[in-house]
Amino acid sequence: MCGVAGFFGNGVAPAEAGGLLNRMATSLSHRGPDDSGVHIDGMAGLAHRRLSLVGLSDGQQPMSDPSANLVISYNGEIFNYVELRNELIAKGRRFRTQSDTEVILHLYDEKGLDCLNKLNGDFAFALWDARQRRMVLARDRMGVRPLFHTRRGETLFFASEIKALLTVPGIEARLDPFALDQIFTLWTPLAPRTAFEGISELPPGHLMIVEDGRFEQRAWWRQTYPDAGDVRPRPDAVEELRALLNDATRIRLRADVPVGSYLSGGLDSSFVSALAARMRPEQLRTFSLGFDSDEHDESRWQSMMASELGVHHTAVRCTAGDIAALFPSVVAHVERPILRTAPAPLAKLSALVHDSGIKAVLTGEGADELFAGYDIFREAKLRRFCGRQPQSKFRTLLFQRLYPYLPGLQRQTPEYLARFFGAGDEQIDDPLYSHRPRFRSTSSAKLFFSPDLKQQLGNYDATAELVSMLPADFYRWHPLHQAQYLETVFLLPGYILSAQGDRVMMANSVEGRFPFLDPRVIDFAASLSPNMKLNGLREKHILKQAAKGLVPDAIVGRPKQPYRAPDSQTFAATQPRYLGGVLSDGAIGKGGLFNAAAVEKLKNKVLKQETASFRDDTAFIGIVSTQLWLDTFSTRAE
């Protein structure tokens, strides 16, 4: 895990190149505290910050091949590098190091851009091909590792995080109003858009080639599903899945340093930890997060799993004071407004891992997207079910069963439940059917947008833009697969793997590894029939079957509890001093994004309540984080 930065073009004077690359790299030092390096070849410059995990003594970067024609600055891990290296050696290739980095160089030399399809791993890299005078940027399938870019004139600048691009003279931080609208609707900007106007993200599974003054960006991989009704019998699916996850975990334990594991108390991380614990010759170290409120705390389940596995377990409790104190630095790391505080406790957890001397951890991320674990999948199925009999009170009461952890819903009558979930009164052929209620309720936070911002946005509709990005075959997929696509392609990289993943882990120099996001598991999960994933209203059906014997029945059978953290009640309980500053009339007026009088009323409302509504929570955290974003980034450009 590391930080990557660089440039390509005539826009950097030779005398300034070294200083610029060093500045860019220094801004990423949290991603790679162990080593740094730069490589300059005329109009191409590469910089690197290193967190050493594989090939500790000989994996320095940027790394070049013996001819110095190929140079790479790379962030991530290629987990099948051992097998790829052996294949290449068998073909007569000679290696100078033990690192996975050198494997990419040889593979590119051998296969060109097709090398990407051979890589089983999480990566973002810049590769300078001096023979063809071309710069290649590439990013892994699911977008685990970040990569951003921008242009000044015809010169391309790129980096693992946007803060490195902001060290380039002339590149300024301005909030993109359309990205803000997307976040306040969809929870994430739609790649390539970022919160920063003029700065783009290389979308997951994409590559960019810059050659002869031409910029070409294209997908090298994309998520797909079989056509609805095209279901093959899979009698051995459970065993197949268990074998795949076993191998995906095995190769993710490859490192020259110990790899730990997160334990959330749920099925996914328990499964991964159980597989890892059986493979480690030494005792596996596991880490977990606890909360003061029963509503959010899962300590009981974490302890159960840790004692079942006999691992060396360490837990940390996250208080409201911790979340409030961490929140500004979290916004600086995630580099975008967020609608929940949930990333903050994960920053505390990665600090615990770092302080324990562990540099990489396995997590269960990806299982909910791939195997239909999220409530939204069940909710959409139930809405369709209710829509067929809109008058049935029994059917609508089932919504309460979906959300046992939301007390507000438990008191509702069937009539209100039907209305909240829009059961029966929506277009079932809407491509966003599954997510429409969520998008609508999130959008209500836009009530606070200032008249100026509303005017700038005009009739802009983030959901229409999302629809315009759907592939043609989307319309042939089963509704569950359509819903999974929306979660997997947009929310997973745009929020889960970034704001709750890479950015808050790398804030403390910790690398996340995700066995469920092994490409073999992704392909397998996509090929399964919908009812093997969501069976009736039983989520992750096949995964639960595969976990039997490895994970205690009590954990396999417990109702799913999504990871959440206290939101505005955090601020009500602690009233951090910075809140008065970023929400002051002056700061709101200067930012120009929100209606100051309405924000004041919202602040007064949520800060005196024990619990706030979903709608008020979303608006309040969204506004606080946007104001912190302005405070952190846009003042720097002044």
């Binding site: 939301l406 507000g408 819903l409 008191r411 509702q412 009558t413 009539e415 209100y416 209305r419 909240f420 609508r440 309720s441 959008s443 209500s444 009530l447 606070f448 209606n595 009088a597 309405a598 924000v599 009323k601 919202l602 409302k605 619990t611 706030a612 509504s613 979903f614 709608r615 008020d616």
Partner: protein
């Protein structure tokens, strides 16, 4: 200037504080948002499940009524006009 009838005055006694509560609590004082009497609070995303409970709490406190669980239905509470009619009906009993 026309005077109010007794019934209209009574309805206004209900309508005015309810409208003020909705504007203050769900629109955060933004008077520029249209709020016709028959506008659905759910369809226009003014309330979610917690918002309904906030509204019920306000009605009980402001008007000294007990809103029964079975009465928490959109037919009674999903627009300004329905809320006024519901409270007026409760009072009549």
């Amino acid at each position: 200037m026309m005077g109010h009838t007794g019934t209209e005055t009574m309805i206004d006694d209900i309508r005015t504080p309810i409208r003020a509560f909705i504007v203050e609590n769900f629109l955060f004082g933004d008077e520029s948002q249209p709020l016709p009497d028959d506008m659905s609070l759910i369809d226009n995303d003014l309330v979610d499940s917690t918002g309904i409970l906030e509204l019920v709490g306000f009605i009980e406190k402001e008007f000294g009524l007990k809103v029964e669980d079975r009465e928490i239905v959109p037919a009674n509470l999903d627009s300004l006009a329905r809320i006024v009619a519901y409270i007026d009906g409760k009072r009549a009993h």
